[in-house]
C-alpha cells in the first residue's frame, strides 16, 4: 500500500504548542503531513524506500536476523531521507499522537536514512492515547554521516506502546540516540545498534520513568561488528508506586575485530518499597582488543542528601523533587536540539512532581 504524503505549509495546527513553530511531520486522518520545504530532506513512501537503488539496497544488506523482514509486513509508514552532505540547524520533528493513530493501529514503520556525510536530526514524540501502538524505527547512517535521534514516549495511562528500534552506523559515522520514556501503561523499547562500519560510534542514552502500575522495559543490544568502533550507553530509571522496570543491556563484540571501546551504565532510583527494577548487563565478547566497562546500580533516595536539603529549610517533597531532578539532569545532553530542550525538560519535571 502506498502512502499519500501531503504538504501543508504554514498550516494552522490544532496543537497550538511548541511543534507548530517547528519543521514537523504529523498524521492527520491517516495521512502523513508535513510543514517544511524539502530541500535535501525527502519524505518517501515505503515503496519508494524499498525500490530505491541506494536506500533499498542498503536496508537489504542489514543482517536478516535483526531486520526480521519487517518491511514486508509493514503496511503503514514513511521514509525520511537526508541527501548527501545534508545539514540544517533545525531538527525534523515527528509527532505521533492519539488522533493520528486511532484509525490505523497496524505496525507503523519509520525509516530514517542519512546519506554520506549528512547530518540528520530527528526528534520523534509519541503521545498515544489508544490502547496499543506498535512501531518499528530504522535509523540508517551511511558513510561519515551523523544522526541525532531522540524518541520521547509520553503516552496515556491506558496505552501500550511497543517500539522496535534499529540503528545502523556505517563507516566513520556517528549515531546519538536518546530515548525518554515518560509515561504510559506499558512501554517496551527493543533497541539494536549495529556498528557496521569501521570507525563507527554511538551514544545510546536514555531515561525511563514509571509510576502507579506502569511497566517500562528497555532492552538494548549494541553490536560491535567492525574494528575501531565505540559505544557509550547510559540509562537512568526512576520508578515509584507499583511500577515495574526492566533494563537488559547487551554488548556483543564480533570475532577478529580490534580496538573496540564499549561502556554501559544503568542507574536506578526506586521511590517506593513496591517499585521494582530488573537490571542486567550481558557481555558477549569474542575478540581480544576490547576495552569494555559496565555497571548497574539500584538505590532508593539518598537519606544523607535528603537530610542535608531539609536542614536548609527545604520541605521533604520539594527536597525529593530537587534530588530527582539532579539525578536525571545529565540525560539531556547538548545533542538534543537547543529549542527542544526546554520542552523535554518541562515534560520530565512534570512527571517527577
Amino acid at each position: 500500500m502506498s502512502e499519500v504524503i501531503k504538504t501543508k505549509f504554514k498550516q494552522a495546527d490544532k496543537r497550538g504548542d511548541f511543534f507548530d513553530t517547528q519543521k514537523s511531520i504529523w498524521f492527520e486522518a491517516g495521512v502523513i503531513c508535513h510543514n517544511f520545504k524539502l530541500d535535501g530532506c525527502y519524505l518517501w513512501t515505503l515503496d519508494q524506500v524499498q525500490l530505491d537503488p541506494v536506500v533499498g539496497k542498503a536496508l537489504d544488506a542489514m543482517p536478516s536476523n535483526i531486520l526480521y523482514s519487517h518491511l514486508e509486513k509493514a503496511t503503514h509508514g514513511v521514509g525520511l531521507i537526508f541527501a548527501e552532505k545534508y545539514s540544517s540547524s533545525q531538527p525534523i520533528y515527528i509527532l505521533m499522537d492519539g488522533a493520528s493513530s486511532n484509525r490505523d493501529v497496524a505496525p507503523f514503520s519509520l525509516i530514517v536514512f542519512a546519506a554520506d556525510q549528512a547530518h540528520a536530526q530527528v526528534h520523534q514524540v509519541h503521545m498515544h492515547e489508544d490502547p496499543s501502538f506498535q512501531q518499528q524505527t530504522i535509523v540508517f547512517g551511511h558513510k561519515a554521516s551523523r544522526i541525532d535521534h531522540v524518541t520521547v514516549s509520553k503516552n496515556g495511562f491506558g496505552s501500550k506502546f511497543n517500539h522496535r528500534l534499529i540503528y545502523h552506523a556505517g563507516q566513520s559515522s556517528k549515531i546519538n540516540a536518546y530515548t525518554y520514556t515518560l509515561s504510559g501503561d506499558q512501554t517496551k523499547q527493543d533497541i539494536d545498534v549495529l556498528l557496521a562500519g569501521e570507525g563507527a560510534g554511538c551514544v545510546l542514552d536514555g531515561l525511563f520513568l514509571g509510576f502507579e502500575t506502569s511497566k517500562v522495559s528497555t532492552k538494548t543490544h549494541v553490536h560491535h561488528l567492525k574494528s575501531h568502533t565505540q559505544s557509550s550507553e547510559t540509562y537512568k530509571g526512576v520508578l515509584g508506586d507499583q511500577a515495574k522496570g526492566v533494563f537488559k543491556g547487551r554488548i556483543s563484540v564480533a570475532k577478529n575485530v580490534k580496538a573496540i571501546q564499549a561502556s554501559q551504565l544503568n542507574q536506578n532510583v526506586l521511590l517506593s518499597e513496591t517499585a521494582t527494577i530488573d537490571t542486567s548487563p550481558e557481555l558477549e565478547i569474542l575478540a581480544d582488543d576490547v576495552k569494555c566497562s559496565h555497571g548497574a546500580t539500584v538505590g532508593s533516595m539518598d537519606m544523607e542528601q535528603l537530610y542535608y536539603l531539609q536542614s536548609r529549610g527545604i520541605e521533604k517533597t520539594e527536597a525529593k523533587r530537587l534530588l530527582l531532578q539532579g539525578f536525571v539532569s545529565d540525560v539531556i545532553p547538548n545533542t538534543v536540539h537547543v529549542d527542544f530542550k526546554p520542552w523535554i525538560t518541562t515534560q520530565i519535571e512534570g512527571q517527577l512532581k
Binding site: 537530610y307 542535608y308 536542614s311 536548609r312 530537587l322
Partner: protein, 258 residues
C-alpha cells in the same frame, strides 16, 4: 536562645547523649570540645532534628519554644543552621538553585516575601566573595567535586545567605589551611554579633584563636564534664583531655558567669 535540658539521645538504641544541659544566650559563642566519639556531632544533629536519633529524655527549647517535635526543615526555618562536618555532595543540583530553594522555603515558612532572581543573585555573589568562594562554583552542582576547603566555604556561604539565629558549626575548621580558616572565621565573625548565637564544635583550639568563645564545654561520653571560659580551651590545648579523667564521674555542670 537555645536551652537544652537533660537531653538523652540514642541511635539504634545505643545511648550517645546522656544528660546534656546547655544554655546559649543571644550574642554568645559557645565551644564544645572533646575527644572523638564523645557525642559532639550527635549533639549537633539532634539539635538540627535528624530523625535517625531518638530523643529519649529531656528537651530542646529554641527561642522559648519546645522544638522537640519540629521537623528538620521547620527548625531551619525557625533559625537553626548546622554547618556539616562532611558537607553532602548533590550531583545535578546547581548550587544557586539549591540556595534559592532553601532561602525561599525558609522565607515562605516565615511568611516573608520570596526574593526575585536579581536580588537573590546579588546577595549570593556578594556573600560568595566575602567567603572567598569562586563564582564558578555557584553554577556547579552542590559540593560536587569541591575541595575540602571549598566545601567548608560553601557551608559558610549558606550560613551568611540564610542568616539564621543560631549557627552550629560542626568541625568547620577540619581540613582547612590557615588562609581558608581565617576566611571562614571572618565569615562567622560577620555573622555573630547582635542577637545571634554560635555553637562551635571542634577538636582543636586552632579555630578558637579566630572566633573567641564566651564559654567552653568539654563533652565526654555523652555528658558535659567541664565548662569554663576561653582559658579552658587553652588548658586543653596544652594538656590534652587526660587531666579531666577524674571529673568524668563527678561532672561539673555549673555554667560560668560571662
Amino acid at each position: 536562645m537555645l536551652a537544652i535540658k537533660n537531653l538523652h539521645a540514642t541511635i539504634d538504641q545505643n545511648p550517645i547523649l546522656k544528660g546534656i544541659d546547655l544554655e546559649i544566650k543571644a550574642g554568645q559563642v559557645h565551644a564544645i570540645m572533646g575527644p572523638n566519639g564523645s557525642g559532639k556531632s550527635t549533639l549537633a544533629h539532634v539539635i538540627s532534628g535528624r530523625d535517625v536519633y531518638d530523643v529519649t529524655q529531656g528537651r530542646i527549647e529554641f527561642m522559648d519554644q519546645d522544638i522537640s517535635e519540629l521537623s528538620v526543615q521547620d527548625r531551619a526555618a525557625q533559625g537553626i543552621f548546622l554547618s556539616f562536618q562532611y558537607p553532602v555532595e548533590i550531583p545535578g543540583v546547581k548550587n544557586t538553585v539549591f540556595l534559592r530553594a532553601a532561602l525561599n522555603a525558609q522565607r515562605k515558612a516565615r511568611q516573608e516575601p520570596t526574593l526575585d532572581t536579581p536580588d537573590f543573585l546579588r546577595l549570593v555573589k556578594e556573600k560568595a566573595k566575602q567567603v572567598g568562594l569562586k563564582a564558578e562554583l555557584l553554577q556547579r552542582p552542590v559540593n560536587d567535586g569541591f575541595s575540602g576547603g571549598e566545601k567548608k566555604r560553601n557551608e559558610i556561604l549558606q550560613l551568611l545567605v540564610l542568616d539564621p539565629k543560631l549557627a552550629i558549626l560542626d568541625e568547620t575548621d577540619s581540613g582547612l589551611d590557615i588562609d581558608a580558616l581565617k576566611t571562614v572565621a571572618d565569615g562567622v565573625n560577620t555573622f555573630k554579633g547582635q542577637g545571634k548565637g554560635v555553637l562551635l564544635i571542634t577538636h582543636y583550639q586552632r579555630l578558637l584563636d579566630y572566633i573567641k568563645p564566651d564559654v567552653v564545654h568539654v563533652l565526654h561520653n555523652g555528658q558535659i564534664i567541664k565548662s569554663g571560659d576561653f582559658s579552658l580551651a587553652q588548658k586543653l590545648e596544652k594538656n590534652g583531655y587526660g587531666w579531666l579523667g577524674d571529673s568524668i564521674d563527678t561532672p561539673d555542670l555549673s555554667l560560668p558567669t560571662v
